[in-house]
């Protein structure tokens, strides 16, 4: 318990000082997206890594959050903070409503159903041109501001996004180490045994799906205000796959794993510029290699690797 708090405080400190040496560099901009992706990956990890329910439609909730905020603030001149809250609640309500029929499905069928939600949302972003601007995108979204202080630079946005991300991380850490988190993991390991133990599996699955949609919608709202321009390509199927890759690479069922996954997969495209059009192939390969060679993800795999290598070295000496 004590060491968990310490870990989180150290993490906060790292987040706080990280951009200082980078100043106004391009990396600060990348780190903003690491923050947004961390929130998205965490939302999915709650569902996939803890409750054991797959979703290939996370980009839909992210996109609904972004477009919801984007449209409300540009077309209806609503206050950005108010629209962020409204949109997140509506998206969560939507997830709750579709959660009951969708989460009755298991395995491949659940993957297909959530994939369907993602595809439908993507088509909607493209086709409702009057609202979203269609494929050419929606521009002129205002930056967020508090009492006249506008988040109009990378550094300001970095602290804005990461304060949200840190709150989400803290809440997720609390949640997974609680009665509720144990219930989710029990459903993951054996749903029938969990139900016999009095765990209301159906309701909890829908609740965690709703929470994950809520977090994704908030991340979407932040994204649109940071970017000030959004287009449907940012919310397509490949984004859902990218999120899935982050969660699996970082480590299923590990909060810090999701952040590590988000960091790696956000930096990776920057490093692999040449693969740009083939990024989904690289993600696919990464997923396959990870599930075969490091099924526990980076957060568990790397310490295990180190443990295996260290005694071998001392044996040689």
């Amino acid at each position: 318990m004590k060491s968990d708090k310490l870990k989180f405080l150290i993490f906060c400190l790292v987040v706080l000082v990280l951009p200082l040496p980078l100043a106004k560099g391009y990396l600060t901009n990348v780190l903003i997206f690491v923050g947004i992706n961390s929130m998205l990956a965490l939302g999915l990890n709650l569902l996939l890594g803890y409750a054991g329910q797959i979703s290939l439609g996370q980009a839909a909730f992210f996109g609904l959050g972004a477009y919801g905020s984007g449209v409300l603030t540009t077309k209806y001149a609503l206050d950005p903070w108010l629209s962020m809250v409204l949109v997140a609640l509506v998206v969560a309500g939507f997830a709750f409503a579709i959660g009951f029929p969708v989460l009755r499905l298991k395995g491949h069928y659940l993957a297909m159903a959530t994939l369907g939600v993602g595809v439908i949302a993507h088509i909607a972003f493209n086709e409702t041109i009057d609202l979203t601007g269609g494929p050419s995108g929606l521009s002129g979204i205002p930056n967020l501001s508090i009492a006249g202080f506008s988040f109009d630079s990378d550094l300001k946005n970095y602290y804005l996004v990461w304060s949200f991300a840190l709150v989400v991380i803290l809440l997720c850490l609390n949640l997974v180490n609680s009665r509720y988190g144990r219930g989710l993991r029990a459903i993951h390991d054996s749903e029938v045994a969990a139900r016999v133990m009095g765990v209301n599996a159906r309701l909890m699955k829908v609740q965690i799906f709703t929470l994950s949609a809520f977090i994704s919608a908030i991340a979407g709202s932040l994204y649109c205000h940071v970017m000030t321009f959004i287009s449907p390509t940012s919310f397509g199927f490949n984004i859902s796959v990218e999120l899935l890759t982050m969660v699996v690479i970082g480590g299923l069922g590990s909060v810090y794993g999701s952040i590590l996954g988000a960091l790696l997969l956000t930096l990776l495209p920057e490093l692999l510029r040449t693969f740009q059009d083939y990024d989904i192939v690289v993600y696919g390969l990464l997923l396959v290699c990870m599930t075969i060679y490091l099924p526990g993800g980076m957060v568990r795999g790397i310490p295990a690797l180190v443990r295996r290598l260290v005694p071998a070295r001392s044996g040689n000496a």
Binding site: L171, C172, N174, L175, S178, R179, Y180, G181, R182, G183, R185, A186, H188, D189, S190, V192, A193, A194, R195, V196, M197, G198, V199, N200, A201, Q207, I208, L211, G253
Partner: protein, 250 residues
């Protein structure tokens, strides 16, 4: 305590159970026996709500629970263990039992995320209670072991500790002695008697006749999906129909 009335179950054209009718008396240990394929596990699955009966009623203390899902039956005090042990393999032994305390705690999504003060004290209470149940089953030293790595015998004890954590009125055990050696079976018999002495009614499906005759107060015999006989262990041992079903006709 538990009453089954005219229970029948068909899977497609196959009749697995028909006309099953008996009661489990409060405070007793009732054994359900019968040759393989007699429908014992099917009956357990109906009693615990894994699937509904095709006909008939399941009554728990007079309440018709036939259509209740398993989680609701658990809250009413009807809990079971599984033949092949259904543990939460990636969780520790202690955490498994803590899940068993789910029905006796109430912190939801919000209380847990925001770590409300009452949730923290509830969490401490859950942990203490869970440790008590580990002690009851004699597996305290395994508290921090991952449940998936336990031996079959220890896994069985954990499953019982976890079920007891719900403080059930009625505990249904599906072949508790399956896969246990003779020493473990003897320990299990003692544990089941201790469970009854705590005021929990027990019903078990079992193949180990020595165990059944030793601990059961009443027996129900199933054969080919129907009731063959009902009575005390002594009566059953002398029942001609039962002997024929087990040993075949001369």
């Amino acid at each position: 305590m538990l009453r089954l009335e005219g229970i029948g179950k068909r899977f497609g054209g196959l009749t697995a159970l028909q006309g099953i009718e008996f009661s489990v008396t409060k405070g007793s240990i009732t054994g359900i026996i019968g040759p393989n394929g007699a429908g014992k596990t099917t009956l357990f699955n109906i009693a615990t709500g894994i699937y509904p009966p095709s006909e008939g009623k399941v009554l728990l203390e007079g309440t018709d629970i036939s259509q209740f899902p398993p989680e609701r039956r658990a809250r009413l005090g009807l809990v079971r263990t599984f033949q092949n042990i259904e543990l939460f393999g990636k969780m520790t032994v202690l955490e498994n039992v803590m899940v068993g305390l789910h029905t006796q705690s109430s912190s939801g999504l919000f209380a847990c995320s925001f770590r409300m003060p009452w949730q923290m004290s509830e969490e401490r209470r859950i942990r203490e209670k869970a440790l008590e149940w580990l002690e009851f089953a004699g597996i305290t030293e395994l508290a921090d072991v991952e449940a998936g790595t336990l031996s079959f015998g220890k896994g069985r004890l954990l499953e019982i500790a976890r079920a007891m954590a719900l403080e059930p009125k009625l505990l249904l055990m599906d072949e508790p002695a399956a896969g246990l050696n003779s020493r473990e079976t003897a320990e299990l018999a003692e544990l089941i008697k201790r469970i009854r002495d705590r005021g929990v009614t027990v019903a078990l499906v079992e193949h180990d006749m020595d165990l059944v005759m030793d601990i059961c107060d009443a027996l129900v015999v199933l054969n080919l999906g129907t009731m063959l006989a009902e009575g005390t262990p002594r009566e059953i041992q002398e029942n001609q129909a039962v002997i024929t079903a087990y040993l075949g006709e001369e």
